[in-house]
Assembly symmetry: C2
Homo-oligomer: 547 residues x 2
């Protein structure tokens, strides 16, 4: 018994070392970290295997649900992580990976993140975050001012007010959108007479009190899928997410929005929120925000703008006009981990009215006491990291001028790529870039002519084959690992709204060069030749149509 | 015009450097990072100012809502961060800060976090996370197995199944609890006949279809405040969160639970979920999970266990019996950023039934396509970081044996502190440690005697003065900066359930020594003498009662 105790104590002493003694300068982990600090791009190039390994095979390295009984050395495990995890991760920072919204990070993010992790603050309350709380409130103030442009006295009054909040930091745009619609729902069904508000009595009693037969959120057909989740979670139901028609530029049609609202009201369904999209996920287009704002004011709807992607455009004096009307929104979502180049996990929602979030305020005894400035009383999440610090640092180190350059260059690059695609006889630009996103597909000239001349049945048939081809090219290109574009499905008006699979390109990585864009097309053209059977079927149908 | 372009290009070239050229070895940021790597504890001790600066004064450094127009140098800004932010942050890793659930981190977390940030994966889909997706699935499998202990073939079948998910990573326990109750709500109000399910048609139609007058979630009086948020967000309403009586050990009374359920049903209110607490936030007590499970089975309620804090206890062969019955839960919340010693932002929810999460499954065109293994189809959040990597690494480097030691030592330390408090004539242990949490207050012997002899009015009066004293001591101790305990309000049965302010202590930091515990009491005793007026009033009332 005594010796057992002694062993336990000795083991504990050695365990304490992982809390008190850093890895030695020669340890694998320190070596890797230094390598990474010296040249991140080289580190990623050297350690991430380019060619794709089938997922089934990767899973073999991660198939044991048992928690190891005995410890392993840090260095051994680090090597294991390099071999199995890092090697098979995605090189999101690669300049030729232009298919998603995650791109390169500025170098200073890495050491600053380490400081953030080492401090391990919890932003839910001041007791575990102190200066991080005013810092986060300032960052929210900065984004609020970027959107709404109020004067200094406004921010003096509200930014650090205990009973108010100009917005909330969230893990991402989804939680930001849910938070905005939560606020909107609670405001639409607020306390009234005997009724104590939806937050207290729930949705069922709220509906009976207000005598509605349903609730609705309206958004364009191109709205983000997180809104469907929001409608589900908030008890509205996905059927309550009403999709509004878009025009040929993927922008909401205000007439259809108005018509849908009128129709809903006639059915005694309350349209309590309209979501304008500022940068659709698939094509980067921006809804006519002013027109939506006018309708929302008239109809007394909450007007939310999902600018998770496009919000950073406000940093550019040259392009912020694209988002005109955003200052009329009741709430706005912006993701700092997208075009503000912050690591994953930094979403925000901002509210025009400093009182708006009171409808979701909550308190608890041991924290978030009434009158405290704890941020946790106005967030959907509880414990949260101090990632606001990275946004704050970027605002100073990159500054507005730097972000303007980044935004402008991304848009310029997208326009360059659009022109390049247009200049190819065998590609079709499907959506033009408004921000730095565009979509296109491989479409040999003869096939294009056939698509135009075909009757509707032939066109659908040919289009289906083209979809298969686009899918094939996209997958093959990803597997080869030289470059990556994503794919999605659109319904272009010019092709009778047929389901059309397209390549989707996001040009936010400042390291992506024009040469890379040329070679992406070149590679796709080559890959097409690797599908002779499919190409043969496309050719035969083309001949048939043109005959 | 030409020269303007030239300038823009030159500026862009210099901006590109922040993406391509790391900080030099002599830069302030590199220097700080190295300092931090060499000796984290010293770094924190040297850079965090111990004595508290009033929040109002800290806010002065964070009062400008304007985004700077011009960039500043990385080094200059780093110095600014050290002076204004780091200096005024909270030393959460300090062994004498025993008031919150955020404590020291193992050293290897810092370099591993940096690799995680540098890889910047997005776990929402495989396209941006590849090997991180199977890794996260394995970590969920490990925690699932820790709770439910199924055999290998179970995990072989389900862990990597595209259409299933054993749980979800979340930013924290709040989102984990919301996710569990979202699943429970959707299952209770699932599609049935003409009705397409609450996720499609919303709560109002669901209630009419099932003919309920209300919904309820039951939890003990000591449940976490996030459940109130969950009830609000999910449209149940906070009134639908029904609080069940607890016994003298802060554990739910099964009889009262059963009585409340019966009463709800008599009112045609559907009790769709019961939450058992495994480690209450304030006192660390564990509900009788087996008894709750029996009631839930009988009443066909979803049984959720909020083990955000206590879940890690399952790692200890010596104490896992405290959570007996957790394996009967339909879902369990565990926070890895608590007793698994992971940096902030790593919550998890696990489901017994691999099909459970199908009720909240969602898909989108460009990602999360049906049949894909994208994790995003089963999470409330969208884009998410690869923090699962840190849990995975800890499971290997610390291992079950190491976690067992950590858990055991924390509980041993709490018992030691409890004995120490009991041995003092002038302190009162208010809640005994079941895990590593306890609460107590400063209560001189004579005052204690008076509390016992007082009539109920005098007792309430004296207790109110003691509350003021506890508050004073806690605040003063925090401000002085040598040590920190938190405070909360309990209603001890032995004091007629009077509102009682207590010191709350969490002993999870492996670096906290017995000496520190002694000096915490010593300091509190001394601080009490700094409130002579208040102490005078307490003494006079005591004399009056004892006279």
């Amino acid at each position: 018994m005594v010796s057992e105790h002694k062993t336990a104590n000795a083991n504990f002493e050695s365990l304490l070392r992982i809390f008190t003694v850093p890895e030695g300068p020669d340890s694998t982990l320190t070596r890797i970290e230094e390598e990474l600090s010296r040249n991140l791009n080289q580190f990623l190039r050297e350690h991430i295997v380019a060619e794709e390994k089938p997922l089934k095979q990767i899973e073999k390295d991660f198939c044991d649900a048992r928690i190891p009984d005995e410890p392993v050395f840090v260095s051994d495990h680090t090597q294991h992580l390099l071999d199995t995890l890092v090697a098979q991760s995605v090189h999101t920072a690669s300049p030729s990976f232009i298919g998603h919204m995650t791109s390169a990070l500025p170098y200073f993010m890495m050491p600053l993140s380490k400081i953030m992790i080492a401090l391990n603050q919890n932003l839910v309350k001041i007791e575990t975050s102190k200066a991080f709380t005013p810092l986060e409130r300032q960052v929210l103030g900065m984004l609020h001012r970027l959107i709404y442009g109020n004067d200094d006295s406004f921010y003096q009054q509200w930014m650090h007010s205990a009973e108010h909040s100009l917005g909330a930091f969230c893990s991402g745009g989804t939680i930001a959108n849910i938070t905005a619609l939560w606020v909107a729902r609670n405001s639409a069904l607020k306390a009234d007479g005997d009724f104590h508000g939806v937050e207290k009595e729930g949705l069922f009693k709220a509906m009976r009190h207000y005598n509605y037969d349903g609730l609705a959120i309206l958004v364009s057909e191109r709205g983000h899928y997180s809104l469907k989740k929001a409608a589900d979670v908030l008890g509205i139901g996905q059927d309550g997410l009403v999709l509004v028609r878009t025009d040929e530029h993927n922008r909401i049609c205000p007439d259809d929005l108005q018509a849908k609202i009128t129709e809903l009201k006639a059915r005694n369904i309350k349209p309590f929120a309209v979501v304008g999209v500022a940068g659709t996920t698939e094509t980067g287009n921006i809804d006519p925000l002013q027109a939506i704002a006018r309708i929302c004011q008239q109809e007394q709807c909450h007007f939310h703008v999902d600018a998770a992607w496009g919000g950073a455009t406000l940093m550019s004096g040259n392009y912020r006009h694209l988002l005109d009307g955003i200052e009329l929104a009741d709430s706005v979502t912006i993701d700092a981990h997208k075009q503000l180049y912050i690591p994953m996990g930094a979403g925000m929602v901002l509210f025009k009215d400093p009182h708006a979030m009171n409808s979701i305020e909550h308190h608890a005894q041991y924290i978030l006491r009434k009158g405290s400035k704890d941020l946790g009383s106005h967030t959907l999440e509880g414990s949260r990291s101090g990632i606001a610090m990275l946004v704050y640092a970027s605002m100073h180190i990159i500054s507005r001028a730097g972000y303007e350059l980044l935004i402008d260059q991304s848009i310029a690059k997208a326009r360059y790529f659009a022109d390049l695609i247009r200049a190819q006889a065998d590609f079709e630009l499907v959506s033009q870039p408004e921000l730095c996103l565009l979509t296109y597909r491989y479409l040999p000239q003869q096939v294009k002519t056939a698509m135009h001349q075909a009757d509707s049945s032939q066109r659908a048939q040919l289009n289906a084959l083209l979809n298969e081809l686009t899918k094939f090219i996209q997958k093959k290109q990803r597997e080869t690992g030289k470059s990556f574009v994503s794919r999605t499905r659109l319904n272009p008006i010019c092709w009778d709204k047929l389901d059309t699979i397209v390549f989707r390109v996001v040009l936010a990585n400042p390291l992506t060069t024009n040469e890379i864009l040329h070679s992406v097309l070149e590679e796709q053209r080559e890959i097409a030749t690797l599908a002779p059977l499919l190409m043969g079927r496309i050719e035969r149908l083309t001949q048939q149509i043109l005959a």
